[in-house]
Amino acid sequence: MLANFDFDVIRRALPYLFYEGMTFTLTLTALAALGGLVFGTALALMRLSGLKTLGRIAGIYVDFMRSLPLVLVIFWFYFLVPYIGQWLTGASRPISVGAFASSLITFIMFEAAYFSEIMRAGIQSISRGQPAAASALGLTYAQTMRYVVLPQAFRNMLPVLITQTIVLFQDTSLVYVLSITDFLGAASKVAQRDGRLVEMYLFAAVVYFTISCIASFGVRRLQSRIAIIR
């Protein structure tokens, strides 16, 4: 069976796959994870703020995002954002939003829902005495969060956050619905062009597997290094 394999197809496609495809995938993953973490932390703080309205808004948002399939959100968002932009700015025609910007916003909003639940658990894992001690020293609520609670919550949750980012890394392949050339998209294009579906998809699988595996391994190493000594 292997005799029919044309590994040279892969070799020839490598620059395209990695320079174009993988660069896009990694950029999207990194930016979406960062944005999702910031937005997600904000959502978590809203839910834990004790202000009912604010907490409910965040809660509804999180539940809403988590009950929709990601592909659908990506797809819808791509078509909706131009019109939302038009509505917001009062322009006469739909705002043109590139596929990258659209997918980035989608992933940030979608991942924020998941990151917020992780950060919420992280914040709740910190004993109530910690914010009390910070307040007693005169730190404001914002300072208490910034210097005492969030750094601890983030470190406690880092393994879970990275695991979620690995899932995000795999999920970015769903941008194929927007015909974006991410890593899988690039592999798929070469596969269609050269009629080498088996080789290309197999290679793509190996690459995703390898990167995710190394990252998971890295999480375990990191965990022991960054963990707060208790």
Partner: protein, 243 residues
Amino acid sequence: MIEISHVNKWYSPTFQVLTDCTTSVTKGEVVVVCGPSGSGKSTLIKCVNALEPFQSGDISVDGTKVNDPKTNLPKLRSRVGMVFQHFELFPHLKIIDNLCLAQEKVLGRAHDKSVAKGMQLLERVGLKEQAQKFPAQLSGGQQQRVAIARALAMDPIVMLFDEPTSALDPEMVSEVLDVMVDLAREGMTMMVVTHEMGFARKVANRVIFMDRGEIVEDAPKDDFFGKPRSDRAQKFLSKILSH
């Protein structure tokens, strides 16, 4: 310095934790608050720097009303040192950074000045060598001494102690009490919730005895240990002094 008048606090409409508590702590005074567990003494001391809200009555610290919504609470708290039962050092920061954080972020002190102040206080509590360690690398007694140093770094006008030795192993109690005794003798105004009657005897000016959310007895130290007026205080004393 601290004026507490007619403070009432309910956790729910049917559960009252503080009932009409009235007392005061004057400048330079050391007041020990004791009483059986669940009597509301920790809650009362946490009301003083507004870590716990209360529904009626007034508390003022150095003339500033704690329960006034217009009061800048962070500013008030920065002048009131507090030491907790479970130390509450920040585990992600080194000892010296625990002492510097609030100095820099709240008082706006320069980093080198904060460090100098922090080191001076660590030396005072005998822990200068531990400055670069993390809290979990220290024993309970050492952690509590760091917590006292952390509170002192803010140059507080009054210190609140909420059962500072209750979470310690017996052999570490005295090292913490020694620091507190020194502090009291230097003239620090202190309100101390504790069961350490030896400490009360040594340095307290007054002893407050609480039971079921009420201040049952508020008397000069010698009167309290000599002849407590209430039955409840007598019973309590006989229980904790019998061995």
